[in-house]
Symmetry: C2
Subunit: 429 residues, 2 copies
């Protein structure tokens, strides 16, 4: 690819970046929290249809995927979990590519903590604000407008490109898994998660579990004879933090995380218990998220979590009589390290992205080990497909006043367009 | 009152005790938790109307009572808070009486902890099971059937009797307060709360408060830079228990509670926080109930609670930056000690009840200092009316498988009928 073509591709992204920003704003306005993605998926399916993609829109069926490696347990049905995939077929002989992004966003939390409403995106000083603007609707927009730039130059990828807008990234990954099960494969995948224009070469695993406590409540006048289920959680939380400290110990570090301060975070993300101020609470449930290193076995992790909770229960009178029940509900996500993929295809994919990034930014592509998970694991672990996680700079993802840097989105879109051109090759439309 | 009349009154209670049990069962079947009392109040109003009471049924208006001593703050409206009062007028010259009971019940909690459904009452081995059967629908039934027994003998109280079925006993007491504001007064009040056929001569005050915490959440991958609002509650709970220990200290004991083990209980009754396992929680709210001794000043107690929470917040980095907000919502109930009422009318009321109890049981009436509150405080503190809390034996009130001892209900009904006869005097219908 000559410099002239590269310049034309980057200019083509520039030429419609205002339109791309408008698209991102409209997409971010859809409050696509888990269970509420359909309206945003309609928007995505329409955008793909207008552009001539073959659009596939289907409801995930747990029975199709529950037996597959990488499946995460879910409670309830998937009646509202709909994936959208658009395919650009090609008769060319280039390398095929999946451009993946997730449509689901995490809950916005208390509205009064936002300076402006989370689903009324707005731009201020070069940042777009809104829940999901960074994580990761900017990435979905970038994938789409990178292909748009090529098309407006009269060019198409010389290999099949599969555009994916999936659900469930934020809780199970079963959306990406369902794409795999449906037969969508390619020579590489690109996922523009918002990691500041760095290439993610290692990501953690994540496990979610709920702890249910139930005891015998009484009128608070006799509290001494009752058992407070809410307060019984406190020693369990302390024991889990003890486990967290052990897992982060230098003896257990994965080598991609040797330099990272406290990579594995345990989070008590949700807590609910009791019904009435003057009744000793009979029950509580709390939700825990815990990180795992790549290579750390999930079944082994679960055994250790259960042991820690059961041991802690032994040293507490209430818990000894009312054993904690552990419910797995959400992530059973293994870690994944692209850095450990020593195949030629991975190496070429990385160097191709490195070149595209350098062309846009004038800088080398930094590599980063992240302390979260992404859907990259499905491609890397279960489909022998190198997955490049490379996206824009965002702040306060999962927080208030989430925002994404629009100039960073522009650069990532340009780098993506160059990557597609280089990886797939180009042909005239 | 001669022995023959006493025997006839007790027999009249016996004669319709099966009907009374059926009435109690029907009343208990109404799930009259706070906000859902109307159907049970319809049932009570109908029962009073059939019996010839002058029925007064009205919606509580906060504006009518908010300025009165004993008012407890509420959040939200009282659109669904309806009191029912039935009056039996009399031209007699006896002493007038209020027979009071509350229709509201506390939430039933998780259904799977009940052996049988909480609102499908049933009788087993002499106990009636169901939420509210003991606390205190058995008392409402007892008050009604005590008067029925007299009527079936062709007798009526020789003074005005006011039958009250009030809401809000379990959270504010504003139902009883609204009766007072509406002008219902008498020479004494009887409240058959389920305290095992003992006379309550001291009851605690109760204060409810909510603690609201709010912080800045982030993606859990960067948990170190965030602040977990759920875990920030833990040191506050510990500090509140420290306060509880100090308030229970021997130096602060009220003399009616010198012998009671740990009279003042602090209860964390409800806890809610966070939205998502993988987001550091931005917020939590927990509900606290704390006991107070009779004579303990509520405003002073509030100041101490606030000081304890603020001091604890100072020693925690998150809380220092995100001060706990304290919201008062529910009980501002002062303690009340009938034992300290040295008026002649109180003394006569107690000895009259003692006599009735002895006639039925052959035993002296025991006196008890309870570690809960009741609506008795409104009569005693704000209307110079001695309030006798005397009701049947119940178990697991506010718990699972709540039950009331039917033979105890029978005895309390008989004692109540004898008390009415003796206190008010009797006249032919």
């Amino acid at each position: 690819m000559d410099q002239d073509l590269r310049t034309r591709i980057m200019s083509a992204v520039d030429a419609r970046f205002d339109e791309q920003t408008q698209f991102l704003s409209e997409l971010t306005a859809h409050p696509s929290t888990r269970g509420n993605e359909q309206c945003a998926q309609d928007f995505m399916a329409a955008a793909l249809g207008e552009r001539g993609f073959d659009v596939d829109r289907w409801q995930i069926d747990v029975d199709d995927i529950a037996h597959l490696p990488g499946f995460s347990p879910v409670i309830g049905k998937y009646d509202d979990a709909v994936n959208v995939v658009g395919t650009l077929p090609s008769t060319g002989t280039g390398r095929s590519l999946i451009l993946n992004g997730h449509i689901d966003v995490v809950p916005e939390g208390p509205l009064d903590m936002w300076d402006t409403p989370p689903y009324q995106p707005h731009v201020d000083d070069g940042w777009m604000y809104g829940r999901g603007a960074g994580d990761m609707k900017a990435g979905l927009a970038s994938n789409l407008y990178a292909l748009d730039a090529l098309r407006h130059l009269g060019l198409a990828p010389a290999a099949k490109v599969i555009y994916q807008s999936v659900v469930e990234e934020e809780c199970t990954g079963n959306g990406a898994l369902a794409c795999l099960q449906r037969g969508y494969t390619a020579d590489a995948a690109l996922i523009p998660e918002p990691f500041a224009e760095e290439l993610v070469t290692a990501q953690l695993g994540v496990i979610w579990f709920q702890v249910h406590l139930k005891g015998i409540p009484v009128h608070v006048a006799y509290a001494g004879s009752g058992s407070n289920a809410i307060e019984a959680a406190i020693p369990l939380i302390a024991a889990l933090h003890g486990m967290e400290a052990r897992w982060n110990g230098t003896d257990r570090r994965h080598n991609e995380y040797g330099h990272v301060h406290h990579p594995l975070n345990l989070n008590i993300g949700k807590f609910e218990g009791g019904d009435w101020a003057s009744s000793v609470p009979a029950w509580c449930v709390f939700d825990v998220r815990m990180g795992l290193f790549p290579g750390q076995d999930i079944q082994e992790a679960k055994r250790e979590i259960e042991e820690v909770l059961n041991d802690a229960a032994q040293s507490n009178e209430f818990l000894r009589n009312n054993h904690p029940e552990i419910v797995y509900h959400g992530f059973h996500a293994e870690g994944y390290s692209l850095a450990e993929d020593d195949t030629a295809v991975a190496s070429v994919a990385i160097s191709t992205l490195d070149r595209a990034h350098h062309n846009v930014t004038g800088k080398d592509l930094n590599k980063v080990s992240i302390t979260a998970t992404t859907d990259a694991r499905f491609f890397g672990l279960y489909a022998d497909t190198p997955a490049l996680v490379y996206g824009p700079t965002a702040e306060a993802i999962h927080g208030f006043n989430e925002r994404v840097d629009l100039e960073s989105v522009r650069r990532v879109t340009q780098a993506t367009a160059l990557f597609v051109a280089d990886w797939c090759g180009l042909e005239a439309i």
